[in-house]
């Protein structure tokens, strides 16, 4: 089997959007018929076998499994800490900063869903990470994630102070770090293994 997928014409999204996009892999995913229990363990949730992105990452099932469980705890463990909307905002900010149009579409839509602040989210997409996101807490999350996404990392005590001043507790600050850092992982996979397409 060839390593790369056959070239296909895609309709590239011309701008960042909250609309649902498709994603086309450049490297051949595993065939669903070839998946074994080891692969399903890596996929964690069996329906993910329908998704070509996850079937591609299933080529290294141990890494995929650990990555997926890291992701789920950072974004869905809501026993305490940062709200779901702000975690998704962190993901969207990292994605906007790194330039991952696909990741930004998914997580900006989630941020809007949980916050009902679609206009603030859309301004992040349209104007970029320097825009005013409407309140102190969102701007503090944005500043922290942009600083964390930069190379060299610029995240410092002033970002922690601003997050605390906006009302976040220690667990919420950890969630900002985790969600911003995690999208520096996710963005690089989605950007380098395939491309977004208008669906």
């Amino acid at each position: 089997m060839p390593t790369l997928t056959p070239h296909t014409e895609v309709q590239s999204p011309p701008r960042f959007t909250q609309e649902t996009l498709g994603w086309v892999p450049w490297v051949e995913p595993l065939d669903e018929l070839d998946l074994t229990e080891r692969h399903y363990e890596g996929l964690v949730q069996r329906p993910r076998a329908k998704n070509p992105y996850f079937r591609l990452l299933a080529r290294d099932p141990e890494v995929l499994g650990a990555r997926t469980k890291t992701d789920l705890d950072i974004f869905y463990n809501t026993a305490d800490g940062l709200g779901r909307a702000e975690r998704e905002l962190g993901a969207a900010v990292a994605s906007r900063s790194n330039g991952c149009v696909y990741c930004a579409s998914v997580h900006s839509a989630f941020a809007t869903h949980f916050s009902k602040r679609g206009e603030d989210v859309q301004r992040l997409l349209d104007e970029g990470v320097a825009t005013d996101l409407g309140d102190e807490a969102w701007n503090a999350v944005r500043d922290a994630v942009v600083a964390l996404t930069a190379t060299p990392v610029r995240f410092g005590a002033e970002h922690v102070a601003a997050l605390r001043a906006s009302g976040l507790d220690d667990v919420a600050v950890l969630d900002v770090i985790n969600s911003g850092a995690f999208f520096n992982w996710a963005n690089r996979l989605m950007l380098s293994l395939g491309e977004p397409t208008l669906s």
Binding site: E62, V160, I177, G180, A181
Partner: protein
């Protein structure tokens, strides 16, 4: 104590140890990812030496000192000659990111920046597979939005399989996460010591 704790100087029983315990699966599975990447069940698609070389290179590009030293030490223990070549490659590749090109209506947001160019003696020292891998890694670390289908071809031409490309991408991308968690926790840990 896991690798992130060690690199962030978090002691057992400390305030930061207790804080990390609020996200137990994230903590445990970040370490499980590290173990799967650096102690793989099967290193057929990407050798252990290749894993250590790419990790040392990308940790140095990200410029988080504790992580840079950790991965430099692992590579130096594995192969001092490759470690010396990677150190040279780091000097050629250091830069500030993220930059890169956009298409469509975003073209005005494009930010130019350097590509890694390895000298022929350095490419000889690294070999074809690591030369292609470090070039790809430089893009992924500093200008990931320059990713393109044709930029995978040099990896294929150098003998990287589909499985190998996935593991290489995961390794670089995981390090992008891990060093940022370390950077963030280091700030929080320093605050506690004031």
């Amino acid at each position: 104590m896991d690798v992130i704790d060690r690199l962030s100087r978090i002691a057992a029983g400390s305030r930061l140890d207790e804080l990390r315990a609020h996200r137990p699966a994230a903590r445990e599975q970040a370490q499980a990812t590290y173990d799967a990447l650096f102690s793989p069940i099967n290193a057929g698609a990407m050798s252990r030496l290749e894993r250590h070389a790419v990790a040392a290179f990308v940790a140095a590009l990200f410029d988080v000192p504790a992580a840079e030293q950790h991965y430099a030490r692992l590579l130096a223990d594995a192969d001092p000659a490759i470690a010396a070549a990677v150190t040279e490659a780091v000097e050629l590749g250091r830069g500030a990111g993220p930059y890169g090109s956009f298409g469509g209506e975003l073209v005005a947001e494009s930010q130019a920046g350097p590509e890694l160019i390895l000298t022929p003696p350095l490419a000889d020292a690294l070999g074809v597979r690591l030369t292609a891998a470090l070039q790809h890694t430089h893009m992924l670390a500093l200008h990931p939005r320059d990713s393109a289908r044709e930029r995978l071809q040099p990896l294929v031409d150098a003998g990287w399989s589909a499985d190998g490309i996935v593991t290489l991408s995961q390794l670089v991308s995981f390090l992008a996460f891990q060093v940022r968690v370390v950077a963030g926790l280091t700030v929080l840990a320093a605050e506690g010591s004031l």
